[in-house]
């Protein structure tokens, strides 16, 4: 009997050891420098709030800790869209001036591999910038660092909250350099193909309500023709 108890305790210890190793994986990528930082192309930059209650609209399956906004928006409860979230955001420049509208569709990715620190989300932005045109951005984002450094510490905290300084490049693909893919739609962006990188900055998170102080930023490279049109 004592051998069986010893085996079970050993197995539990081993599984815990594995979970701890996976969580504290020192080889997990912590990207804080944009792959576009060295690009000579001109950039289009915008910011948006990542606090659902401050967006124009946010909805998900209604099961998460994050409240939908406004309260009576339709929830995405059907099986095919239950892992999808939609956020409609006002896009602002660095001085906080409104410059456009962005609709972000995000779905948990089946390419997620927790063993290699990959908590992936497939996301698509549908963007309208008045006086400039429309475009679409497709990205694969990795939320592993966000989960590890913000969400889990908030859960473990006795106050059910996290406060600090978090900044990460979230975009991990689908392009080879770890950038997102941009397709121009109308106006100055018509026919454009470009790259994009999205980052997330967080200062406060609640394990009860979700993001408290958080914003995202997007940088899109502009080919010379588009820069001149702008």
């Amino acid at each position: 009997m004592k051998y069986l108890v010893s085996l079970v305790i050993g197995m539990l210890f081993g599984a815990t050891l594995f979970a701890a190793g996976m969580f504290y994986n020192p080889f997990a990528e912590r990207q804080t420098v944009s792959p576009l930082a060295m690009s000579d192309d001109e950039h289009l930059d915008f910011n948006y709030t990542a606090v659902p209650g401050e967006t124009i609209l946010y909805t998900d399956n209604g099961e998460s800790i994050i409240s939908t906004h406004p309260d009576r928006v339709a929830e995405l409860w059907e099986p095919a869209i239950v892992d999808t979230r939609i956020a409609v955001n006002l896009l602002t420049d660095s001085r906080g001036k409104a410059m456009g509208l962005g609709i972000k569709f995000s779905t948990d990715s089946e390419q997620t591999r927790l063993i290699s620190s990959q908590a992936l989300v497939d996301s698509v932005w549908h963007i309208y910038l008045p006086g400039r045109g429309t475009l679409q951005v497709h990205q694969v984002e990795n939320f592993w660092s966000y989960l590890r450094e913000v969400v889990v510490p908030a859960r473990w905290s006795s106050g059910d909250s996290w406060k600090g300084s978090f900044f990460r490049i979230m975009t991990q693909g689908p392009n080879a350099l770890g950038t997102g893919r941009v397709t121009g739609g109308t106006g100055n962006f018509s026919g454009m193909s470009a790259e994009a990188v999205e980052s997330l900055t967080a200062q406060a998170y609640s394990a009860i309500d979700g993001p408290v102080s958080m914003h995202g930023s997007m940088t899109i490279t502009l080919p010379a023709r588009v820069s001149e049109d702008d």
């Binding site: 085996l7 081993g14 908590a119």
Partner: protein, 191 residues
């Protein structure tokens, strides 16, 4: 007994590794794709939006019937007559398979436009651009601008049509939007 404990640790490590490696963390629900093969190549698929039940958002400055209730839409000075709509998307059997956004503006400075982004989790996303003027048959023609996932290497066209008359009155649907796609795969370069 200590050896048994060490053996247990090894077993626990291996078991946890095997479990994490083999069991997918995300397993998206898939509905069968209802695709018809076209006579001249490629395939066709019809996406349906039943109104009003599939509408998630109507955003238009200066109107009283914004949806959902409590929506705080940005002022007219910024977006002019931009009409932003979001919907749930159904297949031709009426099963929800995705979500979509439709942006339209008649007075945009760079030219009027109508665009769709149709996001089908587990399959991919399509970016569609429509002609602003309807055809003589009453529908709008458009084309695939870009696709992701299973739509990445496709090109093709799309028809947007608005239906208000139904044979079955019990459906409790006021209107229906149909997006009928005709996509074809691109030929790979010969080596």
């Amino acid at each position: 007994m200590l050896k048994t404990f060490y053996f247990g640790i090894a077993l626990g490590l291996l078991g946890a590794f095997a479990l994490t490696y083999s069991v997918p963390a995300v397993d998206l629900h898939r509905e069968p794709s209802l695709i018809s093969v076209r006579q001249n190549g490629g395939n066709s698929e019809t996406y349906r939006i039943d109104l009003p039940r599939d509408r998630i958002l109507i955003g238009l400055a200066g109107v009283d019937n914004a949806l959902p209730a409590g929506l705080d839409w940005p002022a007219e000075e910024l977006f002019g007559d931009l009409q932003t709509e979001m919907f749930k998307i159904r297949d031709r059997n009426g099963v929800v398979i995705g979500v979509a956004s439709r942006l339209a503006s008649a007075s945009e400075a760079t030219g009027p436009f109508i665009e769709w982004t149709v996001h089908l989790p587990a399959r991919g996303t399509v970016y569609l651009q429509m002609e602003v003027a309807p055809s003589a048959e009453g529908h709008r023609n458009g084309r695939l601008m870009a696709g992701t996932g299973g739509f990445e290497k496709l090109s093709g066209t799309v028809i947007e049509q608005f239906i208000t008359e139904f044979e079955d009155e019990d459906l409790n649907i006021d209107a229906r939007i149909e997006l009928i796609t005709a996509f074809v795969g691109q030929l790979d370069d010969e080596e």
